[in-house]
């Protein structure tokens, strides 16, 4: 169920990018997509009854049913990369605002090459 939701999240994010011309909103869309794919990865590594992949006093043996640690490691990476991209995107957004005094890509109107 969450897997389907995560896929829908990707699509919603895509819709956010597709339908909006406001750079901040586009970035929100990008973030929603990234969240979606992160949850999707986790859901792929998950199976029902799987326990968190940490050996503790309770779950003490590697023979127990742990969920996929690799998928989780990938998501950790993906989250950090997402942060980097979002930060850069926001800086671009601010540059756009500084240059054209608007966040609206539609109002920039083509942006002639120098």
């Amino acid at each position: 169920m969450i897997r389907l939701a995560s896929l829908l999240l990707i699509l919603i994010g895509l819709y956010g990018i597709f339908s909006s011309r406001n750079v901040i909103k586009i970035l929100i869309g990008v973030n929603v997509m990234e969240l979606g794919v992160n949850i999707f990865i986790i859901s792929v590594g998950f199976f029902k009854g799987g326990i968190a992949p940490i050996l503790t006093a309770d779950s003490f043996s590697s023979a127990m049913k742990f969920v996929d640690p690799l998928a989780q490691a990938m998501v950790l990476t993906s989250i950090v990369i997402g942060l980097g991209i979002t930060a850069l995107g926001l800086v671009f957004a601010r540059k756009i605002h500084a240059q054209y005094d608007t966040y609206d890509l539609g109002a920039i109107g083509g942006g002639k090459d120098d």
């Binding site: 969450i2 406001n22 929603v32 989250i79």
Partner: protein, 85 residues
């Protein structure tokens, strides 16, 4: 145990989709960012549910914390220009 999982699963899925739609469809930028933050919290819940505490912690700190912060920091002081919608 299993039933609780199913209920939580459906609940979180609905929340995820709802907040995602809210974030993408919101008219005001700040509302969108807040919803994105809330969506991120829902994702934290999802990660926790899917036995991924590491990811949940990271997402909580980075996703709903830092990302929200830099979003807000970015548009702070610019809302007066009337780009809210």
């Amino acid at each position: 145990m299993m039933e609780l999982f199913n209920i939580l699963e459906v609940g979180i899925s609905v929340l995820l989709i709802f907040f995602a739609l809210a974030a993408v469809l919101s008219k005001k930028l700040l509302t969108g960012i807040v919803f994105l933050s809330v969506l991120s919290m829902a994702a934290v819940a999802a990660f926790a549910l899917l036995s991924a505490p590491d990811v949940a912690v990271t997402e909580a700190v980075i996703g709903s914390g830092l990302v929200t912060f830099i979003f807000v920091a970015s548009i702070r002081g610019l809302r007066k220009a009337g780009d809210g919608s």
